[in-house]
Amino acid sequence: MSEIATDLPRQQPASVVTEGGLVRGLLIAVAIVFLALFLVLPLATVFVQAFAKGWDAYLAAFHEADAHAAIRLTLITAAIAVPFNLVFGVVASWAIAKFEFRGKNLLITLIDLPFSVSPVVSGLIYVLVFGSQGLIGPWLIEHDIQIIFAVPGIVLATIFVTFPFVARQLIPLMQEQGTAEEEAALTLGASGWHAFRTVTLPNIRWGLLYSVLLCNARAMGEFGAVSVVSGHIRGLTNTLPLHVEILYNEYNFVASFAVASLLAGLALVTLGLKSLLEWRYAGDIAASGRRH
């Protein structure tokens, strides 16, 4: 997701620069049918199954100690992983976008790497470092520190899979804005921090907010990587997506989809907020996105 649209398309008047009405209608229809089939239908399934036995059965899924523990752990994980990646993203994109140095493409590629590493591998690497047989496993055992199969491992794996989210969104944004404004502020005597706060931050805030939203959704929803380092201890190391799988494997389909619908609801809220931001601040975003 290197470049996600933060600026909204402008309304176009019909002119020579478009296709005929029939073609246009056809293209729209194909696009909508495709999206409905591939994206909306799976989402709808989640909710249909969750409410298959009515409200009471739906709510019952959340009146359970294990569900509470899973919700709590998911919130803790996101509360650590998201701010961490927020700070990292802003710092990294400052270094990359505001300066010219050699090896930049390599650095960007390395930051991107977690994005295309299989979730299974993302979990595995932490087992290789922190597991009993791992690089520093024996040292950890000696000092009674439990990383994997405990909260720290889950947090680390989550940080890993969401590592590029904020940075990758901000880098192109900052690159596009260039350095002229910051240079002007500095020439006028502002400190570096002051220039960042008053010049850079307002320019990137929508991109930042959007990337944090997506980062959060992914942090709460990560399955593969967390599954490898979690150990699946009930009431202790199960996050919401793992809890979904457990319920599913206990043939408790309604509860499973009910918890899944919580995560799907989170996805919807994320998308809703994002749309709201775009709609409410379309002008701002377009202006900050297009300034050169």
Binding site: A92, L107, D112, L113, V117, I125, G178, G192, A267
Partner: protein, 285 residues
Amino acid sequence: MASPPLRPRRRFRQPSVIPGFGLTLGYTLTCLSLIVLLPLAALVVRASGLGLSGIWEVATDPRVASALRVSFGISALAALTASLFGFLVAWVLTRYDFPGRRLVDAVVDLPFALPTAVAGIALASLYAPNGLVGEQLAKLGIQAAYTPVGIYIAMVFIGLPFAVRTVQPLIVEIDKEIEEASATLGAGRFHTLTRVVLPPLIPAVLTGFALAFARGVGEYGSIIFIAGNLPYVSEIAPLLIVIKLSEFDYGGACAIATIMLGISFVTLLAINLIQAWSRRRFGYV
């Protein structure tokens, strides 16, 4: 850009009045090393315990080779589909106005935000022979779930937003005047599209393809529920890693993981080079 790309080779970086280079780069490199590079190095070290010949042996083992073929082959096909439809969706969303456009625009990001396990369970219950879509497909003689088709569907699902979101901003940026000029000079709409509009978009389409491809290759959570997981038919490489781990064969698991990691890295490097090239060539990504 404020600083033109002079690229003096002898110096690590170009001078700039903007402060914080050391601080920010230092922080970036440290985090990157501790969170990403060190653990990945542990993986490579573990795999290198087998030696190059050992890794080669794992890679050419018929079962592993076939799993890699399934993962990379189907992912390429799915990324192609996602790119084609992604382009179409991006075009429709930016160029046309229709009721509910904003809603459709929001829906595109769904696979980013929806947990993969949830997606997998939902897709499996839809495309199973007794599911809503699976039933219709079965009438046409197509079995989707528990075959390679199921893997393909899951990969298209997770790859689509990449394809749309990389192309969309560029379609927004296209200068209408060029299209108007082309039309004024007598080019047909089709001609204008293929000769004037599309070429500058190609790098972005390639980027979207590569991202969807890289993501599809590694995907596990959503596929495992809908693939049949049969060796030599519908067994994906990440599943084989899990299987190797269940056999306590860490070396083999790490070897497969390293092979996948290498390919991911090359894919991503290619994307970033395409983008850097495109930035120089067209002035934007």
